[in-house]
Every structure is written in structure tokens, then in C-alpha cells.
Amino acid sequence: MAFGESVMQEYFFISLVAVFALVLVGALLALSTILGPRNPSPQKLIPYECGVVPKEEAKGRYPVRFATVAMLFIIFDIEVVFMYPWAVSLGQLKLFGLIEMLVFILILGVAYVYIWGRGGLEWD
């Protein structure tokens, strides 16, 4: 272990930062809700539409196209998320890690080419 720390100590620092972050965010939110002035008037609460009073209620139904684009994004976003821990610990993993990640990228590359071919990236 580097510098003789135990595993627990390492997690200690991470949890310290996490707690500090939670406390900070919690404090800010709590203070602003308690101290913040609050006087909702009907004119203030109408949805903002560039200064014009909206005629119809905001529609709930969206074209399905948005959903497919969202799913594609999630696939490749998770792919990048996996790369972070891999990049940090590449020192220990050495050659085995490199090949492993290349295979992983290859598999997703096939998916990418398939989507591109089928025209999943164009709007319609």
C-alpha cells in the first residue's frame, strides 16, 4: 500500500469530502428556503414564455425520436464512465488492462457502426 495507509484510511478521506459536500449543499438549500422571501403572486407563477401569456398547457407527449436519442447517449456515456477507473488504475493493470479495454471499446464500436449505418443518428 502506498505510504502504509490501510484501505479504511483511504475511504476515510473520500467519505470526509462526501460529508462536507452534503453538509455544504444542505446548508445552502436550508438557509435559502428558510430565509428567502416568498410571495407568489398569480402573475409571477404563470410559466415564462418569452413575455407572452401561454395559451395552451405544456404538452406531455413528445415524439419518440427524443427517447431513442436519449438511449443512444446513455450507452456511450456509460462507456466513457467505465474508462475513468480504468485510466486511473492502468498502472497496476498493465498490458492485460489495455487489451481488456480495447475489447470493450471494440464491442461498443460495432454497436456504434451499426447505429450509424441504420441511420439512428440522423433526426428522421
Binding site: G36, P37, N39, I46, Y48
Partner: protein, 194 residues
Amino acid sequence: MGLIDQAYDLVETEVNNVKENVKDVLDQAEYDFSGAVYDSILTTKVGKVIGWAQKNALWPATFGLACCAIEMMAMANSRWDAARFGAEVFRASPRQADLMIVSGRVSQKMAPVLKTIFDQMPEPKWVISMGACASCGGIFNNYAIVQGVDRVVPVDVYVPGCPPGPEALLYGIIKLQEKIMNEAGTKQAAKRVA
């Protein structure tokens, strides 16, 4: 007989005065305890700190109408640089803005939109009326222009000029900051928020 009438008048005016005073006191009392928690813990020192924080982060809502909008853009740019006074970030939506710079002439068709945008801004909010057209109709005294924005929204600072130079607008913002600082911690600040 005249004496009784005079006495009667005297008593009546006296009663009216008392009634008047009571009404004032009631108003003042009702007003003092109507504020949110914000008001009750407000001592002058904390109010000053809040005022200081507000004045140095005046985020203007982009309300560029006409020629003054071009000078407002020049003010936000590198040469005149409103960032030195904390007013650099121009928020598009009124929800995130606390200063509305009405820059340009307000026509009759635009007045309701201006009122809607002003209402949708969260308190505390301030209005700078930039230019002669916004302040008093300017050179267009006709059917189409609202003769002064203060007929639609309460205005805090008027900046004269047609169009006022960026330095004049910056001076207006500095004046507004002084106004915020004077008002901080007093009844006006609480009334502005209540």
C-alpha cells in the same frame, strides 16, 4: 348658541385627528409584523451585509428593445466592461435576474409583455429605465409609444441620453448600487421584498 357649535366643531376635529393617528399606528404595527422571517431577524448590520451582497451581483435581464440595447451590449463588452460592477452576466430568463434594464422605446404592443416579464422576476428586483424613450417617451410623443416606462413598472434609476453612452449606463448602475446600500437594513428593503 354659537359657542356650542364651535365647541361641537372643535370636538369633531379632535376626534378625527385621534382616529387618524390610530389608523397610522395600526398601519405601522400591521406592517411591522407582516414581514417574513426575513424581516424579524433583520437588524441593520445583517441587512447591510445582504445589501452589500445584492448590490455586487446585479444580474440584468436582457430586455433590449431598440438603439439603447446596442449601447447596453457595448457596456457589457470589454471596453466599458460591466463585469467590474458585477453586472456582467445577462440572464435571458427573468427568473434568474434581479435587475431589469429597460433599454429602448416601449410601444403600446410591448407594454403588456414588459409588465409580464417584470412580474415574473423574483423579489428583490430593480428597474433601470435607460434612455429618454424609456424614461419619458423621448422624441416620440405619439400614439405608439408609452410615454415613460414608469406608467407600467416602478422605476428605480432613470438614465438620460439618446442613447446614453455605456459610461452613462454604468453610472446609472453605480447610482443603483448606492441606492441599494442606502436602503439595505431599512423598512424599504423589507417592503421591497414583502
